[in-house]
Symmetry: C2
Subunit: 241 residues, 2 copies
DNA sequence: GACCTTGCATTGTGATCGCAATTACGGGCT
DNA sequence: AGCCCGTAATTGCGATCACAATGCAAGGTC
């Protein structure tokens, strides 16, 4: 691991710690790392073929974003466990911020955005049909944030990103359990219509309804006692592609 | 710098990068580092008498919390400039999350909390009287978060903390310009009364009003054209006590 | 005098090493 | 067999070094 022969020019290209960040972030959002399990810097580094240093950087970011937790006594880090309290607060925050972003995006929406959303939504429905959980979650994320980015609200956008990062493991639990087929994408169509008409209030309502439906399912799954509080084992190796 | 003779036992005591984080965080909140100016890892490290490594860790956290910005081209980091857009979004987020936290804290408030708040509020008024800007801002922060912590809402509390961190530089501009005497603490008394009565809605209104007044002043100061967009010089050394 | 070029200092990034502490595991004792 | 303790491995943290790239400034050219 970590072959020093080919020195990466870095500079303009993405830094290594950013790639590591994206890898772990993807693994978290798609649920490749189960909540409650412990991870180690060196194991992640070996997994990704880099030195522990950029992994430390990436982990710092993720801890600051509450996507990873660090045991204050052990100083060992793990994926935050899924609790009903966390879910409730994350839901509340999402229900406030994401409709707001959609409403702000509406007057700035153009045809290119709607076209882009339509393509994403087709991918989403395709993933739904074949039962591709990862594909569905990636497409869903892309759909929402294609809208949110259009709001031009940097601060709110960053907050929404942090929320999704924290709620990712919940999503995986839900869709890995209930299956993806039960979540219709009707609200996405509503949202696209509202955006096309530059109807801010309509976009707000559509996103709010979309979130409600998704969160209802999550709450049901969590309430039904999904594998939430896994005992924190150590010495666990996770494969990140 | 960095004398390796006395090896810090660290372990249970706070790690160095945490102390560095707190130092920079304090410097940002109290406005010791002006917005727009550039900072460097090595200068900060020399200032604090540590190696650049823990500074990197602390800076990563702060960048993730949007308290520091990093130029994507330069990769040089600086304090985010104060723009009206940022202020507007931060105000919106604060107006939503902080009254919510206050409302959640109300039913869980006890006499010890009210006593603690009273002490903090006395310090606050003392700072106001003598014109101690730093003391005022520290006390104000302590007052609000003594309440918010009582809400028992970890996720929302962390979001509020991030918001304050981002809005700190704005506060400094306001109070360094307008002076501290013009902001009465009446709303704090209202909030304490509501908490004593476990009146959730009263606490929500009191905090909302308190925020409104403070943000009004900030918006006025920013609109009046405070030194917002400072040109980003390099090679700047900041003294952090 | 203005503009370009060259040189040096500084910066962020990553790798490697050392250290203290915790954890895991195995052998020995009761 | 069950428990306990000692040893080895693993972990996070911090320092130092190396390197590519950028920044600034002095010196040279037209």
């Amino acid at each position: 691991m970590a072959e020093p022969k080919t020195r990466r020019p870095l500079a303009d290209s993405t830094a290594v710690h950013d790639q590591v960040y994206d890898s772990i972030r993807q693994a978290l959002i798609t649920g490749k790392i189960a909540p409650g399990v412990g991870v180690s810097l060196r194991s992640l580094a070996a997994e990704l073929g880099v030195s522990p240093m950029p992994v430390r950087d990436a982990v710092r970011r993720l801890v600051a974003e509450r996507a990873l937790a660090i045991n204050p006594a052990n100083k060992r880090l793990s994926v935050p466990s899924l609790t009903a309290e966390r879910l409730e607060q994350l839901e509340l925050a999402r229900q406030w911020i994401e409709p707001e972003l959609a409403a702000r995006a509406a007057p700035r929406a153009d045809e290119a955005l709607v076209r882009k959303l339509k393509v994403i939504d087709q991918d989403l429905e395709e993933a739904l049909r074949v039962g591709d959980v990862d594909g569905y979650m990636v497409a869903n994320h892309a759909f929402h944030f294609a809208i949110y980015e259009r709001a031009g609200a940097e601060v709110l956008l960053a907050m929404a990103g942090g929320l999704w990062l924290q709620i990712g493991p919940f999503m995986r639990v839900v869709f890995g359990r209930v299956g993806t087929g039960s979540l219709p994408a009707d609200r996405h169509a509503e949202a696209m219509d509202a955006l096309k008409a530059k109807d801010a209030d309509g976009a707000r309502r559509a996103i709010a309804a979309d979130l409600s439906e998704g969160m209802d399912k999550m709450r049901a799954a969590v309430g039904a006692g999904a594998g939430l509080t896994a005992p924190p084992p150590t010495q666990t190796v996770i494969t990140i592609p």
